[in-house]
Amino acid sequence: METENTALTNGAAAAAILASAIGACALGALTAVSEVVASLRPLLAFYPPAGPLSGRAALAVLVWLAAWACLHASWKERQVDFSKIFIWTLILLAGGLIGTFPPPFEELGEMLRSMR
């Protein structure tokens, strides 16, 4: 009879935590880039009444779920260096929080357009 290894590794937790930060950073990056490059905004209006927010949110959720699935598949039975994961999680979360604040990126976009 096979014995089941009931000890949990930290890989599954690391995958879920890092993937959530990747999703947050994806939302920030999509917001920042689409504020700088105005021509991207209509493409992100998946649901036109909600404008580009609908596409940014949908794509960020997709990135989050895809990252989670990939990381979970490769780490679920592994013990990973959680300190590194923690640092990357904080960096990505900070990127997400900064990127989701549109005004500086709107101004940057307008400045770049006026320089052309």
């Binding site: 949990l8 879920a16 935590i17 939302l27 009444p49 404008g51 923690f86 604040f101 005004p103």
Partner: protein, 175 residues
Amino acid sequence: MGLTDRELWTAVHGMILWTIFLLGFAAGLAGLWNLRPECVAVAGMPRQLRRLLSGLWVAAAAAWAAVLTGTFVLYPWYRARPPEGANLANYPRAYLQANPEFAEWHDGMEWKQQVAWLAPILATAVAYVAMRYGLGLAVEAKIRRTLMILLTVAFLTSGVAAFVGSFINKIVSMH
């Protein structure tokens, strides 16, 4: 005195769903804080764990419902373009942009709409990890602390959303 559709959705989104999230957050944070080795041996811990998991999943579900209603129901009303000669008080974005003293609240609204989406993503990750590891989190101090940080960031982002949303609603209510 009845509520219009817009007032009803605003109340459901801002007062009911985010309040449920707040309650789930508080239960989740307190539960994670107490999930320490010295506390796990205490009788009744499995029941507390069930309460913690319920709180976290309720918080995650409420955050999803709040951002979905906010993005797909309320935000289109907020950003609707007014027809020529319309009363701007019925078009919040146009009203804010037309009044220099309130124009910065529109920036706040744009931030709120994006940043609020972090709350359900983070809350779902926290709920999943807590469910998968259960009482094992008591000996995984780094994971437990990280979960508390993520949950707190989720709370702060929802706090930004609630703060900005309630002030904009004070300036120009949706009727």
